[in-house]
Subunit: 230 residues, 2 copies
Amino acid sequence: MTENSDARKPAVGRARGRTKAPTAKGEERRREIVAAASELFARAGFRGTGMAEVAQRVGITEPGLLYHFGSKEGLLRAVVEHRDLRSQAFARDIAAVGGLQALREMPAFAHRNREQPGLAKLFAVLLAENLDPGDPEHDFFVRRYREMRAVVAGMIREGQRGGEMRADVSPELKAIEILAALDGIASQWLLDPEEVDLVISIEEYARTLIRDLATDPEPAETGAPEEVQG
Amino acid sequence: MTENSDARKPAVGRARGRTKAPTAKGEERRREIVAAASELFARAGFRGTGMAEVAQRVGITEPGLLYHFGSKEGLLRAVVEHRDLRSQAFARDIAAVGGLQALREMPAFAHRNREQPGLAKLFAVLLAENLDPGDPEHDFFVRRYREMRAVVAGMIREGQRGGEMRADVSPELKAIEILAALDGIASQWLLDPEEVDLVISIEEYARTLIRDLATDPEPAETGAPEEVQG
DNA sequence: GATTATTTACTTAGTCCTTAGTAAGTTCCA
DNA sequence: TGGAACTTACTAAGGACTAAGTAAATAATC
């Protein structure tokens, strides 16, 4: 399927009929559709979700969908681009505070993720469906992960320059590890939330990271409640 | 699709026509089919692969496939159960050597994985397609991850009992973290092998782990070649 | 040890449903 | 009055799966 059908693929990404500016109603409609598609793609994946399901969910016909997005892949692209909150929020968090403090923010990040399991799942599912070059959004995920690794590596380099992080770790490799751990923990949590607590697991991993990376030993927070710094 | 069609689902798992013992030829054929299906499922997932594709690959008809496995889900089950080398090899490695030594074996595990990227990908893709309860192999993956976490936690407990690992880490949480990191690194490697080196990343993570968990400082292996112990 | 009966391992032909996508027309708002 | 935002009606292909029959190997019987 992916191999021979490179010829005459339908126009992807933009609408069929429309050529000028969209109206407010249209934009609102598109937001609804993206929201519905996000939910369904998170459940059954891109391949496991039919256009008819999405259409029914928003109360429109199938060609109505295609009017807005041109093709199923166009809809996927819209979902992937619009629902990009994850890496944006992630980058904002890490860029806002530098060095070690960024690691201390990881539990907050975990809390936010737990409140929107749909988003975490959407990300995990779509990533797995786009591992192959040739998968429709492969390049998007490659770019996103390169960006995220760069942001995390930058955060570590900052900590190293400031002297609060040990200098003998490679920022690039540590960035791979950190993103890997976060993804992997999320994946185990999504699979088996009764056995794997997302927040506790990430908190513990953050403690490990700080213990391993900090040059100064952290104030022992075992038994010491949060009001220490107040 | 997953919601309403609980009624009259076709018999899953076993063959339609056959009721007694299979012949040697049949078993060989089934192995061929499982191998082909594994490759195709790794590429496009269970949902993205048609029975016709699998059939063509092994040179059989579609009903020929169904004779052997009863349904598409039956074929998936066979793939998942037969291609279970990963966790078995993993458990064997970890159980063979206890404690810290198991962590030192992680790079070897990484090397094996790199030689069979198809298997790693199959695992990642099928996991993501079975995150939901109700997905056909959801329970299988839940069980597998529980087993793997138990094996890793046991290895850590052993290290702690022997005194070579620090006692103030939770074996259960550390097991989650280790499996998460391994999966996450593999996932980034599968997505972008040019930027992410599986073996180097896992080696570095193993070093971090040993540095963090060992009670005795390890002999600095930087610059010291392997012939030290010879 | 040849014949008969049974079973495995298929094939051909066909069912019925779902799939993404098209063509052409309609409504409604700016 | 022209274009955005739809709908109805349709196509062609692919989806898993069934029914019924056949070739060949195996097992049972005389």
